[in-house]
């Protein structure tokens, strides 16, 4: 197995296992930490795809900022484990079958996706085979500020709205 393939399966395994831990854990802090591990796996995959800038930005923004926000909220609210808060004990989950059917349906979705992809022509072309990659940050900046300038400006307004919204929603109401 070439080193390229080994790295791909290694990082892919880390990502998938991390994601499975996220949805399998009862303790929300462990879920958040598992997702951070999954993001590191994804970052490795971006490096393999010759996108080092995206890989580093993924760590800085996702694993370094958004997940810290999640962690802060979980810690400050002292989120109980699933099924152990007062409301959960008063309303136990009587309906396990919808969950089991839901799990089966998810597995079915994966199978369907893989089946559909195997029927699509052109899936075995190597990612790096046809054209050379472009990983220069200068090129990224140039395209971002010329072709995608409108989206960039709109995104800044979006972030402003999100900031104002988050602060307003999370403030304590003065009764």
């Amino acid at each position: 197995m070439g080193s390229d393939q080994l790295l791909f399966f290694g990082f892919a395994g880390v990502s998938v296992l991390g994601s499975l831990f996220v949805i399998g854990q009862r303790n929300p802090i462990y879920s958040v930490l598992a997702l951070i591990v999954s993001f590191f796996g994804l970052s490795g995959l971006y490096v393999l795809l010759e996108a080092p800038f995206v890989a580093v930005v993924q760590i800085i923004i996702y694993a370094g900022a958004i997940m810290v926000l999640f962690l802060f909220v979980v810690m400050l609210l002292n989120v109980p484990r699933e099924g152990e808060s007062e409301w959960d004990k008063a309303h136990p989950n009587f309906r396990p079958w919808p969950m089991r059917i839901g799990a089966v349906l998810s597995v079915l979705m994966v199978t369907e996706l893989v089946w559909a992809l195997s029927r699509t022509p052109g899936m075995t072309i190597g990612v790096a085979d046809e054209r050379p990659g472009n990983s220069s940050v200068a090129e990224l900046g140039r395209v971002l500020f010329t072709d995608y300038m409108f989206a960039f400006e709109v995104t800044s307004i979006l972030i402003l709205i999100a900031m104002v919204g988050a602060v307003t929603l999370a403030k304590k109401r003065e009764h």
Binding site: V16, S19, V22, I23, F70, V73, D88, L113, L140, M163
Partner: protein, 99 residues
């Protein structure tokens, strides 16, 4: 590695995220599953961008990340408000609007 490998991985991650949204009874884990789905989409974008040799795939990932950050912030603010109301993060506790 072929483009098929990356797309299968992206599909797998997306399904794991979707399963998390449907199966988990905890609002924080719900938001985390949505983040997993967005990351799966990012991976597909970057893989296709690499195959076509342009940087567009990478640029779209920036926008996806920004939107994910904004959505996580507002979502968590909502979670804080809901938790203050009911002391539970079970989405089934907030069914007052159901008939």
């Amino acid at each position: 590695m072929s483009i098929g490998h990356y797309l299968v991985l992206s599909g797998l991650l997306f399904s794991v995220g979707a399963a998390g949204v449907f199966l988990r009874r905890n609002l924080i884990t719900l938001l985390l599953s949505v983040e997993i789905m967005l990351n799966a989409v990012n991976l597909a974008f970057v893989a296709f961008g690499r195959q076509l040799g342009t940087v567009d795939g990478q640029i779209i990932t920036f926008f996806v990340m920004t939107v994910a950050a904004a959505e996580a912030a507002v979502g968590l603010a909502l979670v804080i408000g809901l938790f203050r109301h009911r002391e539970s993060l079970n989405p089934e506790a907030f069914t007052s609007l159901k008939w």
